[in-house]
C-alpha cells in the first residue's frame, strides 16, 4: 500500500485561493490608487494654486486643501471598494468555513469510527488468537488420537496374522495326527472289509466239518445196527450154548458178554447220535443264512467307514489349504495395511506443518495487535502516528511474508515443493 497522502478539503482550498487572490488584488489596487493620487496632485498643482490665489488663499493652504480633499475622496472610494470586497469575501469565507466545519465533523466521525474499529480489531484479534490456539491444540490431540488408534489397528492386524499363522500350524499338526489315525482306521476298515469273505471261507470249512459230523452220525446208526445184529447173534449163540449143555457153558458166558457189549455199544451209539444231533442243531442255528447275511451287511456298512474317514482326511487337506490361502491373502493385505498406515502416519505430520503455519500467523497477529494498541494509546498525535502505524504494519506484513516463504516447501501440494527444491535431499 502506498504512503497515505493527506489532502485538504476542497472548500478550504478554494478559500485559500480566494484569500491569496484578495491579497494580490488589494496590493495592486493600493499601488494603483497611490499612483493615480500622485498623478492627480502633480497635474492639478498649478490649477489649484491659480484657483487658490483667486479665492485669496496662500499657496501652502491651497496645496494642503488639494491633498486633503484628494485623500478624503480617495479614502472614501477605497473604503467603499474594500468594504464591498470584504463583504463578498466574508460571505464566501463563512460559506467555506461552514463547509470546512462539515468536512471536519465528518472527518472526526470517520476518525473516531476508525479508532473504534481498530479497538474492535484488537479485541477480535485476541479472540482469533484464542480460537486458533484452541484449534491447534484440538487438532494436535485429534492427530495423536488417530496415531494411537492406527497403531492399535496395526497391532490387531499383526495379532490376527499371528493367530492365522499358528492356526495354520495347528491345522498342519492336526492333519498329521488325523492322517495317522486314518491310516490306522483304514487298516481296520480293510480288515473289516475282508471279514465277510473270511467268515464265508470259515463257514465253508465248518460246513465240511458238519458234513463229516453227519457222516459220523450215520456211523452211529451203523454201530446201532451192528449192535442189534450182535445182540441177536449173541442171543442165538446163548440158545445154541444151552443146547450143547455142559460143553457149551463157556460159550454161553462169552455169548452173554457179547450181548452186554452190544447193549453198551448201542447205548454209546445213542449217546453219540444225541450229542451229534444237538451239536448240529446248534451249529445250524449259528450259521443260519439269514444271520450270516445280516452280519455281512453290517460288516459292509462298517467298511464304508473307511471311505468316510478318507473323505474326512481330504476335508482336512481342504481346511489346511484354506488356512494357507487365507494366511497368504491376509499377509499381503497386512503388508498393504502397514504401508497405508505408514502413509497415514506420514500425512499426520501435516498437523505439525499446519500448527507451525498457524503459529506464524498468530505471531504476526500478536505483533499487529501490539502495534495498533500502541498507536491507539498514543492517540492525539494522530497525523504522525497514522503514518507511523502504516509503516509499521507494512513492515510487519513484509516480515510475515518473508518468514512464510522460508516454509513454502512444507506443504502437501507438490507444485509448491518443486519451486522450493527437493523435499528429500541427501548430502
Amino acid at each position: 500500500m502506498p504512503p497515505l497522502d493527506v489532502e485538504q478539503p476542497l472548500p478550504l482550498k478554494a478559500l485559500l485561493i480566494q484569500g491569496q487572490a484578495l491579497r494580490r488584488t488589494m496590493a495592486s489596487l493600493t499601488l494603483t490608487a497611490v499612483l493615480i493620487l500622485s498623478a492627480l496632485v502633480y497635474l492639478s498643482h498649478d490649477w489649484v494654486l491659480e484657483q487658490g490665489a483667486g479665492l485669496g488663499l496662500t499657496p501652502a493652504a491651497a496645496v494642503a486643501l488639494q491633498v486633503g480633499l484628494l485623500l478624503l475622496v480617495t479614502n472614501f472610494l477605497a473604503g467603499l471598494f474594500f468594504f464591498q470586497l470584504h463583504f463578498r469575501s466574508a460571505g464566501t469565507q463563512h460559506q467555506v468555513l461552514s463547509e470546512v466545519h462539515e468536512v471536519a465533523v465528518t472527518a472526526e466521525a470517520r476518525a473516531l469510527a476508525a479508532v473504534y474499529s481498530l479497538q474492535e480489531t484488537v479485541e477480535m484479534d485476541r479472540s482469533f488468537q484464542e480460537q486458533l490456539n484452541l484449534t491447534v491444540r484440538e487438532s494436535e490431540l485429534t492427530a495423536q488420537d488417530i496415531i494411537t488408534r492406527v497403531s492399535s489397528l496395526k497391532q490387531t492386524a499383526t495379532e490376527l496374522l499371528s493367530y492365522l499363522n499358528s492356526s495354520g500350524h495347528d491345522a498342519g499338526d492336526m492333519e498329521t495326527e488325523i492322517r495317522q489315525g486314518v491310516e490306522f482306521i483304514s487298516s481296520i476298515g480293510h480288515f473289516v472289509e475282508e471279514l465277510p469273505n473270511k467268515i464265508r471261507q470259515e463257514m465253508s470249512v465248518i460246513r465240511d466239518a458238519i458234513e463229516g459230523i453227519r457222516q459220523i452220525e450215520g456211523l452211529a446208526v451203523s454201530i446201532k445196527d451192528v449192535s442189534k445184529q450182535t445182540n441177536l447173534l449173541a442171543l442165538n449163540a446163548a440158545i445154541e450154548a444151552a443146547r450143547a449143555g455142559e460143553a457149551g457153558r463157556g460159550f454161553a458166558v462169552v455169548a452173554d458178554e457179547v450181548r452186554a457189549l452190544a447193549a453198551r455199544a448201542a447205548t454209546a451209539a445213542d449217546t453219540i447220535e444225541g450229542g451229534l444231533t444237538h451239536t448240529l442243531e446248534a451249529v445250524d442255528r449259528s450259521l443260519s443264512v439269514e444271520l450270516l447275511s445280516d452280519s455281512a451287511r453290517q460288516l459292509e456298512e462298517a467298511a464304508t467307514v473307511v471311505s468316510a474317514i478318507n473323505r474326512l482326511s481330504e476335508s482336512y487337506d481342504a481346511i489346511r489349504e484354506f488356512y494357507t490361502t487365507m494366511f497368504t491373502v491376509i499377509t499381503r493385505h497386512n503388508t498393504e495395511l502397514a504401508e497405508q498406515i505408514g502413509e497415514v502416519l506420514g500425512r499426520l505430520q501435516y498437523q505439525d506443518v499446519a500448527s507451525q503455519r498457524i503459529g506464524r500467523i498468530l505471531n504476526a497477529v500478536d505483533a499487529r495487535t501490539t502495534c495498533i494498541q500502541s498507536a491507539l494509546e498514543e492517540g492525539a498525535a494522530a497525523g504522525k502516528r497514522t503514518q507511523d502505524l502504516q509503516g509499521e504494519l507494512h513492515a510487519l506484513a513484509k516480515s510475515y511474508l518473508e518468514e512464510e516463504s522460508r516454509h513454502l516447501g512444507a506443504a502437501l501440494t507438490e507444485s509448491v515443493a518443486e519451486e522450493e527444491g527437493p523435499r528429500i535431499e541427501l548430502f
Partner: protein, 124 residues
C-alpha cells in the same frame, strides 16, 4: 538386533507419528523434545544408529543440536537427518556444513522415510 533411532522434535504429534512408523518397521525409538534434552540423552549413554531432528525447536534448535552432537564422542559418523518445515537453502547449506546427512521437508510419507533410512543406514 534392531537398530535404535533418536527422534528429536518439539511437536508431540511428530514424535508420536515417527515413533509409531519406525517401531512398526522394527526399529527401537528414543525420543527428545528439543536439542538440550537430546544432548542429555546422548550423554547419558543412548547410542543411536540414526538421529532424526527437527530444526525449529525451543531451548536448542536443530542446527545447534547437530553441531553439539557432532562434538560428542562416538557420534562423528552417525547419520543425522533434518526433518523440518524449513525449506530455505541457507539453512540446508548450514546443516550440510555441520555434518547433517540429509534434509527432509515435512510431511514425509512412511514409505519415503523408510527408503531414506535404508539409504543412510545400511542393513536396516
Amino acid at each position: 538386533m534392531s537398530k535404535t533411532i533418536l527422534v528429536v522434535d518439539d511437536s508431540a504429534t511428530m514424535v508420536m507419528s515417527l515413533k509409531a512408523s519406525l517401531e512398526m518397521a522394527g526399529f527401537k525409538v528414543e525420543t527428545a523434545n528439543d536439542g538440550v534434552q537430546a544432548v542429555g540423552k546422548l550423554k547419558s549413554g543412548v547410542k543411536p544408529d540414526l538421529i532424526i531432528t527437527d530444526i525449529n525447536m525451543p531451548n536448542m534448535g536443530g542446527i545447534d543440536f547437530i553441531r553439539a552432537a557432532r562434538g560428542l564422542p562416538g557420534l562423528r559418523f552417525t547419520p543425522i537427518l533434518a526433518l523440518t518445515t524449513e525449506s530455505q537453502q541457507a539453512k540446508r547449506d548450514e546443516a550440510k556444513k555441520l555434518g547433517a546427512t540429509g534434509w527432509l521437508v515435512k510431511p514425509v510419507g512412511g514409505a519415503d522415510l523408510l527408503k531414506v533410512i535404508k539409504q543412510v543406514l545400511p542393513g536396516a
